[in-house]
Amino acid sequence: MMAVAMTVPSAAPQKAAVPQALDADVLARCRAQDPMAFRAFVVRHERMVFALLSRMLGSGAPDLEDLAQETFVRAFRAFPRFDPSGTAKVSTWLLTIATRLALDARKRRRLEAVPIEDAEARPADSTPELRTERRQLGDALAEAAASLPDEQRAALLLADVHGLSTAEIASALEVPENTAKTRLFRAREKMRAALRDEWRTP
């Protein structure tokens, strides 16, 4: 990989946009198994689910859409049991379903992450140079993330992309909270180490 003089900021990272909360009416309708309301729910959360699954499995994974569909179908089935007044946010609940499906898929098929080749530039990167650097950084992140054990990668994505707390990650991964903390720490440490030689990480 070619070295590029660019830092990977470690403070105040940008979190993935959290889908705007759906109103109680739509959630109530989803709980009542109303497919039309559920469509609104899918539209609101599909980007988030694809983001998690593609980063877990590689954006070129052939069954990405199947897994995303399965995530929502499971959510639909489970909606009557989802308690909107409980502690779990609906987005966290959905990410939990997607994470478990992704981990199962990795275990079952020994999927290798597919390198991201056609990543698009973010709008903020307006010059060709910045876009190239951004793409290279993205490739490096994808490669480093692909080298992580599945559970560590899941912890990293849930925390640093989707903003879940360690308690929520622990619940999603069905492990004690300290284990979730450890996995997250190890994941960040390995990511920094993997990028350190070629990218100036602090």
């Binding site: 954006s59 993205g138 992309v161 300290n178 450890t182």
Partner: protein
């Protein structure tokens, strides 16, 4: 395993910025594929105890929907939901009505008089929802409308809205796409994730759907506690004054009608030796009712649900109907025979209208065929179709003779004669097992599966004897 040790304290560990880590975006149509999948998994929906749909029904074949859309079929209907009810409105909208909600529609024009309705509209020409408090225009989106307060009584929406807008609140929340909401000259455009409140002659943004709904619930509660006119905003004084005048006119008219009614009742009581006048279902029509409908260019009828395998009431419905468990089979068989009678007549008409094979018509089914027959006749010769429409009402009113079996009759007239004549046959069929009184009671009960339809669009004219 060292990575799994639990004595680690994260301390000052900082999160990473992974924003450059690209992710795949959802492919187009993903949400629709998910919804198709969950729909396929759902068990068949329970039969509605009340369904009224002059438009293409939920069960209509996709082929029929395509035909209806291609021909721009008029679709007219009305539904009052007694339980959560799915309704297909025209060819490109679906609505879920909560109990108590009421909608009437004519093509892409919907009047939502009361209650909560969630709409999904496929892209196309403007689809409009009229509420007493204002109007909602959409071109393809997913949104909810809630109406509280005075119900809009008139089919003439604009006239009805003048008074009702003062005391009625409506709430619109948009989940996909964009919609325009308006009342008089006040209007705004809402995008997905936004909501608005309509009422008191104003249209106001109310934040996200969740925020808006909370504010709306509070305002609706307040409104319910208020006397609408006394609490009306001062700026609406002129409208309130007009409203009062209208009420006075209505009160005068009501007094006149009450006097006429008292006279008629006295006359009837004398004629029947003191018998109490019969309370009839609005679909239990006599010749004077038909004469009035003919005057308005309308045809109105109740038809038992047209289901090939018949409709079998469940235990709760049998209980409501006051029938014994053994009567379920009687009902089922009566429905089967009703379907066969109607389909035997409508099927060849549909085949002729479409120029299609019998197989194709069978796939479309009676409900959609009715609309196709009407639509094709209206498209071919609107004047003749409107004439034929009213002719059916005039025949039922006794103003025209019933056509003979070999007489050439316009398909619209023939179709309406079939539909308006089916309930008496169904009732007579039930009477063989249940007796005439029970059969009559069951036929006009609101618990049975049926379609209550009113078709406008005929020629309006004063009733008179015609050859």
């Amino acid at each position: 395993m060292s990575d799994e040790r639990e004595d680690f304290e994260p301390g000052a560990e900082q999160p990473l910025d992974l924003s450059a880590f690209e992710a795949a975006a959802p492919p187009p149509g993903f949400a629709d594929r998910v919804v198709a999948k969950v729909r396929a998994e759902q068990r068949p929906a329970p039969k509605r105890t009340r369904w009224v749909a002059a438009g293409a029904g939920i069960a209509a074949a996709a082929a029929a929907l395509v035909l209806l859309r291609a021909r721009g079929a008029p679709s007219i209907g009305e539904t009052v939901a007694e339980e959560r009810t799915d309704v297909a409105i025209g060819t490109r909208a679906k609505a879920v009505l909560e109990p108590g909600a009421k909608v009437q529609w004519h093509g892409d024009d919907v009047v939502q008089s009361r209650g909560d309705v969630f709409y999904r509209v496929e892209p196309g020409a403007t689809f409009r929802v009229h509420t007493p408090a204002g109007e909602v225009d959409v071109r393809g989106t997913c949104f909810a409308v809630k109406v509280r307060g005075e119900e809009m009584q008139k089919r003439d929406v604009k006239a009805g809205a003048i008074g009702a807008a003062i005391s009625t609140l409506a709430f619109v929340a948009v989940y996909e796409g964009k919609v325009g909401v308006s009342y008089a000259n006040d209007s705004l455009v809402l995008s997905a994730g936004e909501s608005a409140k309509l009422g008191g002659g104003k249209v106001e943004r109310s934040g996200t759907p969740a925020e808006g709904e909370r504010a709306f619930a509070s305002a609706a509660e307040q409104s319910a506690d208020d006397v609408p006119l006394a609490k009306a905003n001062e700026n609406l004084a002129a409208q309130v004054s007009e409203y009062k005048k209208r009420l006075e006119l209505v009160a005068t008219k009501k007094s006149e009608l009450e006097a006429e009614l008292a006279k008629a009742e006295a006359k009837l009581a004398g004629a029947q030796d003191g018998a109490v006048p019969r309370t009839r279902s609005e679909y239990d029509l006599d010749q004077s009712d038909w004469a009035e409908l003919a005057k308005q260019g309308q045809v109105k009828f109740r038809v038992p649900c047209l289901m090939k395998g018949g409709w079998t009431p469940n235990a709760s419905q049998l209980d409501k109907l006051g029938l014994a468990p053994g009567d379920a089979q009687t009902m089922k068989e009566a429905y089967e025979r009703s379907y066969q009678r109607v389909w035997k007549e409508i099927r060849p008409m549909c085949q002729t209208a479409l120029g299609s094979s019998a197989d194709a018509v069978d796939k479309i089914g009676p409900q959609s065929c009715m609309h196709l027959v009407y639509d094709i006749a209206s498209t071919t010769d609107p004047e003749a179709a409107a004439e034929a429409h009213t002719a059916a009402a005039e025949i039922r009113a006794g103003l025209r003779p019933m056509p003979g079996p070999n007489e050439r009759v316009h398909p619209v007239t023939k179709m309406f004669l079939v539909l308006t004549g089916e309930l008496p046959q169904f009732e007579a069929d039930l009477a063989k097992s249940l007796g005439p009184e029970e059969a009559h009671r069951i036929a006009f009960s609101d618990t049975i599966c049926r379609s209550d339809d009113r078709w406008g669009g005929g020629k309006k004219r004063e009733p008179e004897k015609r050859p």
